[in-house]
């Protein structure tokens, strides 16, 4: 859709149209501008020295050889940072602090130990190689269960001499325990959601540019949350916020990885302040995978009680969380375990309880919301695996168990036992659509035939509910800053305009969808609404793009700002049409005098009038809106995977995968579908091939793309998608957010399918990733027994 002239198929102006993306023009021409494309005069390069050991005292850092290398200007260590008060910085939610460069000892393999500043990338790399660090090795702690014993302390710097970070719980413990004990059927299974990594194809990086004349620090950085980063930099350094300019250029994928603040950013900023030169730091892939925000690493004990006929009675989930060396998990301040309370999923549990204990280990810090709202993927995995284990224990079909226990459509808004109020949904209809579309009955028949021949075919279902759009200010903040978001719209005299938001696209297509939202509200051409994000000097304040919050929060702000513009325009329309304000209506994307269909004026005409003939009204046509959501949104879906497992090799072939998503109102179906394809592929990768594992000595086993496996077009299944639509009743346009649903919902579908295939052998659980070797070993063990 390129103009407003041809009426779109759905009768709406631009909402719901598969409009081609506006951002594509530059990307397909190689004219995107990513962080490493930024080159400033007299720029220097920074590279980082990393620890070989997971836990060791630093006895000496010898800079001499490095400083003799031509082009190497400086080697920065924690001592240098201490001089400017930046040896430590607060973690995401402020409950802990983290080293920028190792202070006294290293706490995980590949931790940042020193930074080299040089005149070229190559010289910086030469310098890194020449820095000599001497260590005295300590015993590493590599899992939360060992950490729990407190035999070895990871963090001697802390006041509390324990590896235990915090305990968190929600729900009714005693009632839940009692209900499970009294249940006819119960399951209790430990499932592990492995440590994985968002691994966007563009690594993190920055160019820090302190202008000594103006005292302004410009930070070009791979930031999913530029304003939040500006505020953090100001709070940590004491530089006034008006003298910090964060610019987040095109981002080559984020997936949560580009939310935290990393050592490279801080060292670059310090180096620029000290030298007066712009400093560029671009992460290597190894640095990305070994030091920046990982995700998951939750060990979850899932207990479900049910009646004989399959009605659930209670849910309890007990989690051991491995946070690595610092408590740098990206979660809202009041939610140390994020939205893990969504673990009751789509089911109407009479009572539930969940508790979590987090521990320090000698592993990289993180715990980011990797393509999911805070800890929602973990929770969804626990409940969706749990429901299949329950079906298995009951001897019921997993679809039937789900149907029997879904929250009913008439129960919305549904207060969950763990404290959320689900906004809308119709779980039965969505699952039924998936079952019909995939041909569930026929597949079960085929499976029975195959089983009779000894072949392993599996069908896996996941009917997850997400909670996204953080969030309402009464509950959600990060270091005190409320999690609202904002939009600003300026309409130019000729009817085009500029739209700015506090979010930051990393591939989501905001330049297109934000324009569509505003165009829909104003009847303007989305092609002529320029969307700008990522520049803190121009965009209104917002907390950025992660946790599927852009559409639920900023999307609402855009619609509301547009409605403000429209109200201003209505006043001008009254003046132009010489009608009383009360008689001017917005009908069919135009202003019309009530009862006089011939008397209309377009927004384009009003835009011109706003600057040429505003009458008694304030001239100009612009508005800003800060949106504080009244509630979170609850996208959901029904996913079905069909797999064949090769008994001989343990190889799983995903034959089909159908995803039915309900994300409420769809802004651009083409973009939504693309997001779902991408999220499913990431879920597929996690289910079958990805893990950041450490060996018993604390060595990171996946430090690059030859070990941390990204599926290609050859491994990835062909995705089938469809949707149902239950709009969010509290969102101005009914949209719920979608980018993360497929990554949240799909891992359980894959694992459930493989476990379904293996169920004739009595195999109940294999932890992800379901590698050939693991699946084969489980089959061997089961057949031996």
């Amino acid at each position: 859709m390129s103009t407003t002239e041809a009426p779109p198929a759905n009768g709406r102006h631009s909402m719901g149209q598969p409009m081609k993306r506006k951002e594509d023009a530059r990307f397909i021409a190689g004219k995107g501008r990513y962080i490493d494309d930024i080159v400033l005069p007299n720029m220097l390069y920074l590279a980082i020295v990393h620890s070989d050991y997971p836990h060791a005292k630093i006895t000496k850092i010898d800079k001499d050889a490095a400083l003799k290398i031509p082009g190497v200007l400086a080697v920065i260590t924690a001592d240098d940072l201490a001089g400017v008060g930046l040896a430590w910085i607060p973690t995401f939610h402020g409950y802990d602090k983290q080293m920028v460069l190792a202070v006294g000892k290293v706490l995980y393999q590949y931790q940042e130990v020193a930074a080299v500043v040089a005149t070229s990338r190559a010289a910086a790399a030469d310098g890194v190689e020449a820095v000599v660090v001497e260590y005295e090795q300590l015993t590493p702690v590599v899992d939360p269960f060992t950490a729990k014993t407190d035999k070895t302390l990871v963090r001697e710097d802390r006041e509390n001499k324990t590896n235990h970070i915090y305990h968190w719980e929600v729900g009714k413990r005693a009632e839940t325990d009692a209900a499970i004990a009294a249940s006819d059927v119960k399951i209790n299974e430990r499932v592990y959601f492995q440590r994985c990594h968002p691994a966007p194809l563009e690594p993190c990086g920055c160019v820090a540019d302190m202008n000594p004349a103006t005292g302004t620090l410009t930070l070009y950085m791979t930031s999913q949350a530029p304003h939040a980063h500006r505020t953090v930099v100001s709070l940590v350094t004491g530089i006034p916020e008006d003298k910090i300019h964060v610019i987040s250029p095109d981002i080559g994928g984020g997936f949560g990885n580009k939310v935290p603040v990393y050592a490279g950013y801080v060292c670059s900023a310090v180096a620029s302040i000290v030298t007066g030169h712009p400093i560029k730091w671009i992460e290597t892939r190894t640095e990305n995978l070994t030091t920046t925000g990982f995700a998951r690493d939750y060990t979850m004990d899932v207990e479900i009680g049910a009646t004989k006929d399959g009605k659930v009675t209670a849910l309890k989930v007990t989690t051991h969380a491995d946070h690595g060396a610092f408590d740098a998990a990206a979660d809202p301040t009041k939610y140390p375990a994020g939205m893990f309370g969504i673990c009751t999923g789509s089911y109407d549990f009479p009572v539930a309880f969940t508790e979590l204990d987090a521990y320090f280990t000698n592993k990289a810090p993180g715990g980011v919301a990797y393509r999911c709202s805070f800890r929602v993927t973990e929770a969804s995995y626990a409940i969706e695996r749990g429901m299949d284990l329950l079906a298995n224990a009951l001897g019921m079909d997993p679809a039937d168990v789900r149907m029997k226990n879904f929250v009913r459509k008439d129960q919305f808004p549904y207060p969950s036992p763990l404290g959320f109020v689900y906004d809308s949904g119709d779980y039965h209809t969505t699952l039924q659509k998936a079952l019909d579309k995939v041909g569930y009955k026929e597949l079960r028949k085929e499976q029975a035939e195959k089983r009779a021949r000894g072949e392993l075919m599996g069908i896996g279902i996941s009917t997850f509910t997400e909670v996204v759009g953080a969030g309402p200010s009464k509950h959600f903040d990060i270091m005190g800053i409320k999690m609202f978001d904002s939009a600003e719209i300026r309409i130019h005299p000729t009817g085009s305009g500029i739209v700015r938001a506090g979010t930051k696209s990393q591939g989501q297509g905001h330049e297109t969808t934000w324009a569509q939202i505003v165009a829909e509200e104003l009847g303007l051409d989305p092609q002529n609404l320029l969307v700008e994000e990522g520049d803190t000097d121009t965009a209104p304040y917002g907390l950025g793009t992660y946790a599927s919050r852009s559409t639920p929060v900023a999307g609402a702000a855009l619609a509301m700002a547009a409605r403000r513009v429209r109200e201003k325009a209505r006043n001008i329309a009254a003046h132009v049409m010489e009608a009383p304000l009360d008689d001017v209506e917005w009908v069919d994307y135009k202003f019309q005098v009530k009862g006089v269909p011939s008397k209309t004026v377009t927004m384009k005409e009003i835009a011109f009038a706003a600057y040429t003939n505003p009458g008694p009204n304030e001239p100009g046509l612009e508005a800003t809106y800060y949106y504080d959501p009244p509630n979170l949104t609850f996208p959901y879906g029904a996913y079905i995977a069909v797999v064949d497992v090769d008994k001989d090799t343990g190889e799983t072939k995903v034959r089909r995968f159908l995803a039915i998503d309900d994300c409420g109102t769809v802004i651009n179906p083409m973009i939504v579908e693309g997001q779902i394809h991408g999220g499913l592929t990431e879920g597929f990768a996690i289910a079958f091939m990805q893990e950041i594992a450490y060996d018993a000595e604390g060595n990171n086993l996946q430090p690059n793309f030859t070990e941390y496996l990204i599926p290609t077009s050859l491994e990835s299944p062909h995705w089938e998608t469809d949707s149902t639509c239950n709009p969010s009743p509290h969102h101005p346009i009914g949209a719920k957010g979608v980018g993360e649903s497929p990554n949240v919902g799909s891992p359980a579908a894959f694992v459930n399918a493989v476990m379904d295939a293996l169920s004739p052998l009595g195999i109940k659980n294999i932890d992800m990733p379901l590698t050939r070797s693991k699946v084969w070993s489980a089959i061997q063990e089961a057949t031996k027994a």
Partner: protein, 164 residues
Amino acid sequence: MKVSLKVNGADYERDVEPRVLLAYFLREDLGLTGTHVGCDTSSCGCCVVLMDGEKAVKSCTMFAVMADGHEITTIEGMKKDGKLHPMQQAFSDQHGLQCGYCTPGMMATAIAFLKHNPDPSEAEIRDALSGNMCRCTGYNNIVKAVQQAAAELSAPAAEPVAAS
């Protein structure tokens, strides 16, 4: 060390250190930043460019000096006569990109592939692109884009008909 090569139809002669990778030479010496770098292990394919018109090469696994005397085409050189290459058009039409970081390499690989397999099946396309990673699209739409480009490229070119 001197290196002379043709890039996107223009001749360049530059002095480079032998250890400079072609990807960085293109990006930093020639300012052609459409070629991206996403890993250090020759795995991701973000850096793929065309060599001598028909070969797709990972420019971060090649030294610039190795390109001496060769012809390199980057994403910036794919447009012809002011018109997008059919592959560029197809990626946009089929929503074959999201963040855009893998896109130039993916298109270079696909263009080279269609030169020796102009009418591929979906399975052949998926195989041919398996040296390039994408984290955003899940590949469905990339496959569709390559199919669209293949159809366009193998369609008989519309010859201007002279008026009689």
